[in-house]
């Protein structure tokens, strides 16, 4: 079975622009979480979706938004990009929301804001 996939792999944007990152979970997984990993740091939680509903949001500004589609794939949108948004964005999927279900990570999208 295919693992979690994310697109694009890399992208470069300019300050003030908007970006959309995409995530396809493992088949059958209904929960998707997004994390931001700044270079040299551990991932920070951004959003969690389960059954197409937002179930949690981390300490990120309203410039960050996300959604989950009927096929359980997800998009992360960031508006008005800042230099500090440069990071690796990780998507993780799990069968359900409970902590007993392992989260499987995708390879990430490397965003560079210039």
């Amino acid at each position: 079975d295919a693992g979690v996939t994310q697109s694009p792999t890399h992208l470069i944007k300019t300050r003030g622009q908007h970006v959309t990152l995409r995530c396809s979970p493992i088949s059958g997984h209904k929960s998707v979480s997004w994390y931001q990993q700044v270079l040299g740091q551990g991932p920070q939680f951004i959003f969690q979706y389960y059954e197409k509903e937002e179930r949690g949001r981390g300490n990120f500004p309203d410039r960050f938004s996300a959604r989950q589609f009927p096929n359980y794939s997800s998009e992360l949108n960031v508006n008005a990009l800042l230099l500090g948004d440069s990071a690796l964005y990780l998507c993780a999927s799990s069968l359900a929301q409970a902590i007993s279900y392992e989260q499987y990570f995708g390879p990430g999208t490397r965003l560079t804001v210039t």
């Binding site: 979480s33 991932p43 929301q97 902590i99 390879p107």
Partner: protein, 116 residues
């Protein structure tokens, strides 16, 4: 605030030797899981081992084992017979069962190098 602390930024181990990575955490919840993740230069976050807080027995996965001290909120990872492929960043993390969401909270990570 719920936090994970990895106080050692870097460690080095000789191939075939044993190394222990330290981690402390702070949560007021009683139902939680603890994890160690490995992140090689390829960036893929890989689960190494997990420990359910309600279990007293320390988890083991082949060459990887943990020392879980619940009262001290300590969760160290021991890697035995270190291999070159073990070189990576290692993150300690936990998930709590709040009923709202089940996010992972990570530490800052430790860079492990393996000397041939």
């Amino acid at each position: 605030a719920q936090t994970v602390t990895q106080s050692q930024p870097e460690m080095s181990v000789q191939e075939a030797e044993t190394v222990t990575l330290s981690c402390t955490y702070d949560t007021s919840e009683s139902d939680y899981y603890l994890f160690w993740y490995k992140q090689p230069p390829s960036r893929q976050m890989i689960l190494v081992i997990r420990q359910e807080a309600y279990k007293q027995q320390n988890a083991t996965e082949n060459r990887f084992s943990v020392n879980f001290q619940k009262a001290a909120k300590s969760f160290s990872l021991k890697i035995s017979d270190s291999q070159l492929g073990d070189a990576a960043m290692y993150f300690c993390a936990y998930r709590v069962n709040t009923g709202a969401n089940s996010k992972l909270t990570f530490g800052k990570g430790i860079t492990l190098s393996v000397r041939p």
